[in-house]
């Protein structure tokens, strides 16, 4: 016993007790499944017969699968559209609120409500708003004189923009809340110094606020990109990936292959691609952050 304590530290007994539930759950539901997903991606497995090892077959099939190509393109468009929009609007709202405008609590709650709303419910509500014949949006558009109102979710051209709009609607409050917290962490004496120098509002924004906010911006960027890559529920309810795969995205494709076509190996290979993308983005961002993120210590 003494020897064990000397090797593993004096609190090892208590540590085992306190960590046991977490370790068991983590091992069973996270660690083992991550490793298993990797191996399953090298098999063909329909759950009715035992899996067969096929090496890299799933990955080569993915490379030559025209739908997967489309899925990756759609996902990229979705990420490139939603991330700047939700970050830009979130930052603008946070900057406005941070001026000490009245009703800050009200606005904070009002902007954050969509973020706590079930995405399934939000997608249903917006499907109704985007309804091409009776929806509020087209009613509004024709009221202001738009003749050819888009068919939104039924159109290969407009379905993706519709999904993007809803995603931005849902996530803008989250970005805003994080930016607001970041803004409130900026030391007030920096602005006092700027006031002495008679710096204009724009120059304060450009030379103090934005550089001091860059750690927050960096964090919001990372989680927004990773979150956007995982879009699923909006697509599931609003378009079911249609029309003609116009809104099929990576996670929907994983779901489709795994749980509609029962191709567990193929779906796992697509999931490993998602994993690789998320890891790559995280790594690239952490290695490049020194160039533009300013940490004030």
């Amino acid at each position: 016993m003494k020897k064990i304590r000397r090797i593993f530290g004096k609190d090892i007994g208590a540590a085992l007790f306190f960590l046991m539930p977490a370790l068991i759950l983590f091992t069973v539901f996270t660690a083992i499944p991550v490793v298993a997903a990797f191996f399953i991606s090298f098999t063909h497995w329909d759950l009715f017969r035992p899996p067969t090892w096929v090496g890299l077959d799933n990955y080569t099939r993915l490379l030559h699968d025209p739908i997967f190509g489309k899925v990756m393109k759609n996902t990229a468009i979705f990420v490139l559209a939603t991330v700047p929009l939700q970050m830009g609007l979130g930052l603008l709202a946070a900057l406005a609120l941070n001026r000490g405008i009245r009703g800050q609590t009200f606005f904070r709650v009002a902007y954050f409500l969509p973020a706590v709303t079930s995405t399934i419910a939000a997608a249903l509500v917006w499907s109704w708003l985007f309804n091409s014949n009776y929806g509020l949006i087209n009613a509004g558009l024709s009221m202001i004189g738009v003749d050819n109102v888009p068919k939104w979710l039924a159109s290969t051209k407009w379905a993706m923009p519709a999904v993007i709009i809803v995603s931005v609607w849902q996530n803008v409050g989250y970005a805003m809340v994080l930016f607001l917290a970041g803004l409130q962490n900026i030391r007030a004496d920096l602005y006092d110094a700027a006031a002495l120098d008679n710096a204009s509002g724009w120059s304060r924004l450009w030379h103090i606020t934005l550089p001091m906010l860059s750690p927050t911006t960096f964090f919001v960027l990372v989680i927004s990109i990773i979150g956007s890559f995982q879009v699923f529920e909006l697509v599931f309810i609003m378009t079911e990936a249609g029309p003609a795969n116009a809104t099929n995205t990576l996670v929907y494709y994983i779901y489709q292959n795994g749980f509609q076509f029962y191709q567990m190996g193929y779906a796992s290979a697509a999931a490993m691609i998602l994993f690789a993308i998320v890891l790559l983005i995280t790594m690239v961002q952490y290695t490049t952050q020194n160039r533009w993120v300013h940490y004030d210590t």
Binding site: I12, I32, P33, S118
Partner: protein, 279 residues
């Protein structure tokens, strides 16, 4: 100086109006949903659309609870989400205690492993977890819905951040008094960490209430569906009955909005605290 002040107040007014327009965009859909949910079917397809029905009907809510299994779904969600929330608070606070106050070999390494788990997209573990839970015979059971979420790396991380702000003198004093670790955990650390535990609880409640993909694939009978899954199957059954679908959305969203509006301060502070420690 005076000119600058009036300029500032004009800018503030413009921003205030813009923020109001933004709030209309974020909250408007909720109002429209509520309004539609009380409309008789015929009124939905009138042009131009009316915001308030001339003849509001509660019938959709009656249908949801009497002829459709929504009451059962709410019960399921409450059982599942409350269990997950309680388990996460217990499991994560115990682990966070070990990471904050105990000295043992491999502590930092293990913590890093937990942190790295935050980078694994949940869709990666989805398929193996599904196959495992299916082999356990846990499809359509509360166990299958609850246990995979009983631990959260984010929760450990959030609580550890808070635990580290507790003065270590307090812990040392308790140890000198001969307190065992489980007593320090229960009677010193947990009471002091109530704000952080509350933030984690609200966060877990909201995110699990809205969780969709896992309950979708691990429930096959309507009796075991959670609210959000029940709502999505309404969509399949009544695809054009918009008033009913909107009533269902209100029912699915209501409990979370109440929890959020009551606890928004600790929810948002927990969220930002958790994220800012993350870098």
């Amino acid at each position: 100086m005076i000119r600058r002040k009036t300029k500032k107040s004009i800018v503030d007014w413009v921003l205030f109006v813009l923020l109001l327009v933004g709030a209309l965009a974020t909250c408007g859909p909720f109002a429209w949903t509520l309004a539609t949910s009380f409309k008789p079917d015929a009124e939905v397809f009138t042009y131009p659309p009316q915001l308030i029905s001339s003849n509001p009907q509660p019938g959709n809510y009656v249908d949801l609870f009497l002829t459709l299994p929504m009451a059962r779904a709410i019960f399921n969600s409450l059982v599942v989400v409350t269990s997950i929330t309680i388990l996460q608070v217990i499991v994560c606070s115990m682990a966070a205690y070990a990471f904050s106050f105990l000295r043992f070999r491999g502590r930092e390494a293990l913590f890093v492993v937990f942190l790295m788990a935050l980078m694994v997209p949940p869709q990666v573990t989805l398929i193996p977890n599904f196959i495992m839970v299916r082999n356990f015979g846990w499809i359509d059971t509360y166990r299958g819905l609850i246990l995979p979420f009983a631990f959260s790396s984010f929760g450990v991380f959030l609580l550890r951040q808070y635990f580290l702000t507790i003065a270590s003198e307090l812990i040392e004093a308790a140890k000198l008094d001969g307190c065992k670790h489980w007593k320090i955990y229960l009677f010193v650390v947990l009471p002091l960490a109530r704000p952080a535990l509350g933030a984690l609880a609200i966060f877990a409640f909201v995110s699990q209430w809205n969780n969709f993909l896992w309950p979708l694939i691990t429930t096959t009978s309507p009796e075991m569906q959670t609210v959000v899954v029940a709502l999505s199957s309404l969509r399949g059954q009544f695809s054009t009955d918009w008033p009913l679908l909107m009533a269902g959305s209100i029912v699915a969203v209501g409990p979370v909005l109440i929890v959020f509006i009551l606890g928004n301060r600790s929810f948002i502070s927990g969220l930002t605290a958790g994220s800012f420690g993350g870098r």
